[in-house]
């Protein structure tokens, strides 16, 4: 029974990551593409803070590397950013989980902002650097998206009775 539950858990994590990958590459007009939430980063934050015994920095790093390959940016950019974000989450998950959702959003804003800055640093080496305005806007959209993600994932975990 426990093994089965664990399998469902992993299936849900993988499905959520696949959806986030598609959101990451879904074709959008240039004008609105900065409004795309960094769903993969949000999911890594979510799963690492809610199941730190199962998901750690290695998980975050692999997700990041997959994102690099799929988006076609310099390999290692998202991998580095996500593993550092996961590290901070691992250190602080007990605190973060106690905050209200909106309070968590502020944390998420900082996490995603840090993630964007790191990715932008590597991308800048490749000759593609974004303006600070775009980085802040993207982090802000992701932070505003956090409550939606949080509530819907909580709902899913309730339905499947996951811990």
């Amino acid at each position: 029974m426990v093994g089965k539950l664990k399998n469902t858990y992993y299936v849900i994590v993988i499905i959520s990551l696949c959806i986030a990958m598609f959101v990451a590459i879904y074709p959008m007009s240039d004008r609105y593409s900065e409004l795309r939430p960094e769903l993969l980063c949000l999911l890594v934050i979510y799963w690492v803070t809610h199941a730190p015994q199962n998901f750690g920095v290695l998980f975050a790093w692999s997700v990041g590397l997959a994102q690099d390959v799929i988006e076609g940016v310099a390999w290692g950019a998202h991998a580095m950013a996500l593993s550092i974000v996961a590290y901070i989450c691992l250190v602080a998950y007990q605190r973060i989980k106690n905050y209200s959702v909106w309070h968590q959003s502020i944390w998420v804003f900082i996490f995603v902002g840090f993630h964007q800055v790191t990715v932008n640093w590597v991308q800048g080496l490749a000759g593609y650097d974004a303006t600070p305005k775009e980085l802040i806007l993207s982090a802000m959209v992701s932070a505003l998206f956090w409550p939606v993600l949080f509530v819907s994932l909580m709902r899913i975990r309730l339905i499947y009775r996951l811990g």
């Binding site: 074709p27 940016v73 310099a74 390999w75």
Partner: protein, 281 residues
């Protein structure tokens, strides 16, 4: 079920993060500054292309429904207008045929190599880079169809870019407007040689650096590829000059041009085979 040890062994989280960060930096430097990862990049292209194809499905369905749900009347109308356009284009082609023949004769008189008609391959754009800073697209033709690195991509109106990564059934194309792209061009009106650089970022324009203030260039001039870089075939339209600012206090004039090709909107494009792929290039 095994019981998880209360105090897990192995490196601490901090050490793990540090190692992974260093590995990431290593991979990123290898990716950016060496070509050690070239074979992996090619395979990644094959793995990634189907994902872009799937993410492109909604717009494909939209296209399909547009085609299927058109009224008969509109279809007839469209057919009519296409027929007229075809007629006009055919007339132009007749003129062109005689001009091309004349050109070949003149070139033979001058003892220079004759230009051959380029072979083309129709291709569909299946994906765009999700990062708005990177002007790259993915097309659905690859090594299987004879695509090679450095091949030119054109659409109905002009040059779009060049192939930078070839997968089995798909390839990645770097667009003219990318900040890492530049190509030699000439003004069609007077043959002045220039270089057109992509601006990158959100602008879909090409800048002409090092244009002397005395150079004969005006708004509306058409730039065509000059073929000097031995990358692009000669004579394809590249861009139209939209702004010329000649400030005597500055060393060079500021010239902004707009690509002729519909870089943002094209769905279909042509890959031009102008010379066989050179081995090892």
């Amino acid at each position: 079920m095994t019981i998880k040890p209360l105090f897990s062994k192995g490196p601490s989280v901090g050490v793990k993060t540090a190692i992974l960060t260093l590995i990431s930096i290593g991979i990123a430097s290898a990716y950016l500054f060496t070509d050690w990862l070239a074979p992996l990049k090619r395979q990644a292209q094959d793995i990634v292309a189907p994902l872009y194809w799937v993410s492109n499905l909604p717009s494909k369905i939209d296209d399909w429904s547009d085609n299927r749900l058109l009224s008969r009347e509109r279809l007839i109308q469209e057919n009519e207008s296409l027929r007229i356009e075809n007629l006009v284009l055919k007339r132009k082609l007749q003129l062109n045929a005689s001009l091309a023949a004349e050109n070949v004769r003149l070139r033979q008189l001058l003892n220079s190599a004759e230009t051959l008609e380029d072979r083309v391959l129709i291709t569909e754009i299946i994906g765009r880079s999700p990062d708005p800073m990177m002007h790259q697209i993915i097309v659905n033709r690859g090594a299987e169809h004879g695509v090679y690195r450095g091949q030119a991509l054109v659409d109905a109106k002009g040059l779009m870019g060049q192939v930078v990564e070839v997968g089995t059934r798909s390839s990645k194309v770097l667009l003219l407007t990318d900040s890492r792209h530049a190509l030699p061009v000439q003004i069609n009106r007077n043959g002045e040689q220039l270089i057109a650089e992509g601006q990158g970022g959100r602008s879909h324009e090409l800048a002409l650096p090092y244009v002397a203030n005395t150079l004969d260039i005006v708004v509306g001039d058409i730039l065509v590829s000059s073929g000097l870089g031995q990358r692009f075939p000669i004579g394809y339209p590249v861009a139209e000059v939209i702004e010329v600012v000649k400030d005597p206090s500055k060393r060079f004039a500021r010239v902004i041009t707009k690509p002729m090709a519909d870089i943002n909107r094209s769905r279909h494009a042509l890959l031009v085979f102008d010379h066989p792929p050179a081995e090892g290039s």
